[in-house]
Amino acid sequence: MKAPVNKIISLSVVDGPGNRTVVFLQGCNISCAYCHNPETQRLCTGCGICATKCPVQALTLEDDKTVWDRQKCVQCDACIQNCPHFSSPKVRDMEVEEVFTEIMKNVPFIRGITVSGGECTLYPEFLTELFCMVNKEGLSCFIDTNGCIELERYAELMRNCDKVMLDVKAWEPEVFRDLTGGENSPVKKNLIYLAEQQKLEEVRMVCMENVVDVETIIQGIAATIPGYLADFTLKLIAFRNFGVVGKFAETRSPSKEQMEQWKELSVQNGIMHTRIV
């Protein structure tokens, strides 16, 4: 079985507990206005625009497909910056076994893997197969998700998944829709399901004044899973415009004081492990 892989990072100190290898799958089911890596959102259409912009001719068009020459590439990211489709020509369709082989090169230096995206739960069968193989090696398997796909529907995947890091990007449906173009009722179902299953590692939200309903999210989480508030970390991520394209490209980050106030609110609501990042 194959899935489109944007990249694999062998060493990460920021994607879950301990040192982990992170697999980024290509394609997303929403499109956040503040997306920091918009090139992971869509699959390549083979339009060839990036090939004309590549300064070292590392990209060519063959049979309506963009072909990337890894040796020639100088990682300048001109292709990504010029892609009109929120994609990347460097995505590779990889077999589960290929990804597994890449991961195993990093043993014994890692304690597990995290699969991220794009939105990795768009490929539940691929994840299930990968996690089965990786679990057998004694490595933990984490999912990093926007929560828009109900995980309860994939029982075998969840049996092999140790923990999930869940985005709660907004609480009010219309705020979520404005921000992402999607529906957030699955996110709330996932929040409850993961908490009950003891699989909630971390909840994250990107904090933006006047755009994200930060207070409502905090209160919403506290009211929805009141018995589980000590079981996970809430990460309050201050919005940064680095890498952002579109309407928020120039928007400023919230102040330190504002972030501290939100953290205070979170702790007051019983979410013991709250961190600003």
Binding site: S10, L11, V13, V14, P17, N19, R20, N106, P108, F109
Partner: protein, 510 residues
């Protein structure tokens, strides 16, 4: 410093540094060692380098007193009774350290600090203990003005250890260098994580593979070892040496300087290298002979008389430097380099095997603790080295992209060195938020056979030069021609520039 006059009139040296330099000049006015012509040749080419130890050895290079014994029995010569409480202990140690010689004239080993302090913490609150230990640590940093000074922690966690690590982050001291002895079966994760977290703020402590190192002197047939089980300590730049003993001398073979004379790989491996090693071994024996038989050090030192050190627990450290450059010279192909090409690494291993065979089959004088053999050591380099990488490290700027590949390569070469071999990694400051991740890397490295690793954060003021610590802010003052407190700033300053250490690859998420 070329002449006594230059030393006396220097603007860049403190009074204390002048005194040491003058003593060195006086020692070098003697001519008491018998050195054959061929050895002199290798010294002139730089292939054999005695690290400027001096012409008439009158004290061992590194001394590792058994401080735990001293604390238990007191010291007659210094008229000190065994300490009974924390104040007495800290004063006892401060006095005793003052009288421990070494090649730098400062103590290079301060003992297992946590184990020395822990028994005296009963009934002392954390706050009280922290205040006293803080003053003690400041005293050490300001009076032992030599970055080669080293203290050890672990492998067990202890209250004293937690307090010391907490203070280190705040104090930002270059002295003492600290190493945590780490054993995943003994050291709790939380304690090791605190150590690594601390090192990402102040480059201290380094972390060593206790499982491997504790075996170093266990097997010795020396009868003196039986009682203590061959315990080891880490001194100076990660020297793994017997407690109650130390190293007589450290001379090194600078491989690229020898490779210049080679006609071919075979000529180097089969003729040049064995000949040079043999001359180096003889030279080291000559130094040991003078030190043991003529200098009267062991006859006069109270450390020996009172049993804090024993002559039988000293050994010679046989240094190796520049394996990378030597290999690259002999390969003579810029696409086939050390750390990146299997053929180059195989050649490097063959070179090391020749050296290891020499060490295993030659006789070192008065070295009972190591079964009368020379003990290999991956020497870190000196300030005047240009284009010579420490020991068996991969040169700065040419590190493999993958930190894991780097560590696997290291493990392949660490195995040759019983008395110390280490790597230094500059790490991204984000590691501070996840020290457990850094510990995962350490666990993996140690499982592969890496023996010793140290980290510092790429934005930290304190940096590890080759083995010792220096503050970047002190380097700036040295570059401006000002006198600075610690002698290692001079060494570090030149090394930092000559070895382009600011280019050390920063390990980060990626």
């Amino acid at each position: 410093m070329s002449t006594v006059y230059d030393v006396v009139t220097s603007k860049g040296l403190t009074y204390e540094q002048k005194l040491v330099a003058l003593a060195h000049a006086a020692e070098d006015s003697l001519n008491v060692l018998c050195i054959p012509e061929k050895t002199k040749h290798y010294m002139e080419t730089g292939a054999i380098c005695d690290l400027n130890e001096g012409h008439a050895p009158y004290r061992p290079r590194y001394i590792m007193p058994d401080y735990e014994l001293a604390v238990k029995q007191g010291c007659e010569f210094l008229r000190l009774d065994p300490p009974k409480d924390l104040d007495e202990l800290l004063q006892f140690l401060m006095i005793l350290y003052r009288h421990v010689p070494s090649i730098t004239s400062f103590p290079v080993f301060l003992g297992n600090l946590d184990k020395l302090i822990e028994p005296f913490l009963d009934g002392v609150s954390d706050a009280e203990a922290a205040k006293k230990i803080k003053l003690f640590l400041i005293y050490l940093d300001r009076t032992i003005t030599d970055g080669f000074c080293h203290a050890n922690l672990g492998p067990e966690e202890s209250r004293a250890g937690w307090i010391i690590l907490g203070l280190e982050k705040e104090l930002q001291n270059a002295v003492p260098n600290l190493t945590l002895k780490y054993d995943s079966d003994i050291t709790p994760d939380a304690y090791a994580e605190l150590a690594l977290y601390t090192s990402l703020y102040c480059a201290n402590p380094a972390i060593c593979n206790h499982k491997m190192h504790q075996e170093t002197y266990k097997q010795s047939s020396c009868s003196f070892v039986q009682g203590r089980g061959g315990d080891y300590g880490i001194s100076s730049c990660y020297n793994i040496l017997p407690i109650g003993g130390g190293a007589y001398t450290l001379t090194r073979v600078v491989l690229p300087h020898l490779a210049k004379e080679a006609n071919s790989k075979e000529h180097f491996l089969q003729e040049l290298l064995p000949d040079c090693l043999s001359h180096m071994g003889d030279y080291m024996n000559e130094r040991i002979r003078f030190l043991v038989e003529q200098s009267n050090f062991f006859e006069t030192s109270f450390l020996a008389k009172e049993g804090f050190i024993s002559r039988e627990k000293f050994l010679p450290m046989f240094g190796v430097a520049g394996l990378a450059e030597c290999t690259n010279m002999l390969m003579d192909d810029e696409k086939k380099t050390y750390g990146h090409h299997a053929g180059a690494d195989d050649l490097a291993e063959a070179i090391m095997q020749v050296i290891a065979d020499y060490a295993a089959h030659s006789q070192a004088l008065y070295s009972e603790i190591f079964d009368n053999h020379f003990a290999l050591h991956a020497q870190v380099g000196i300030d005047s080295d240009h284009g010579i990488t420490s020991g068996v490290r991969i040169p700065v700027g040419a590190e493999p992209d993958s930190m894991y590949d780097h560590l696997k390569h290291s493990a392949r070469f660490h195995k040759f060195f019983p008395t110390g071999c280490a790597d230094v990694f500059a790490f991204d400051p984000t590691g501070r938020n996840n020290p457990a991740a850094v510990l995962d890397i350490v666990k993996g490295a140690f499982a592969q056979g890496d023996k010793y690793i140290s980290f510092y954060a790429s934005d930290s003021d304190l940096v590890r030069i080759t083995g010792y610590l220096v503050k970047r802010s002190d380097l700036e003052r040295y570059y401006n021609g000002e006198a600075v407190l610690q002698n290692t700033v001079y060494l570090g300053g030149d090394n930092y520039r000559n070895a382009r250490l600011e280019n050390r690859k920063v390990r980060t998420t990626g």
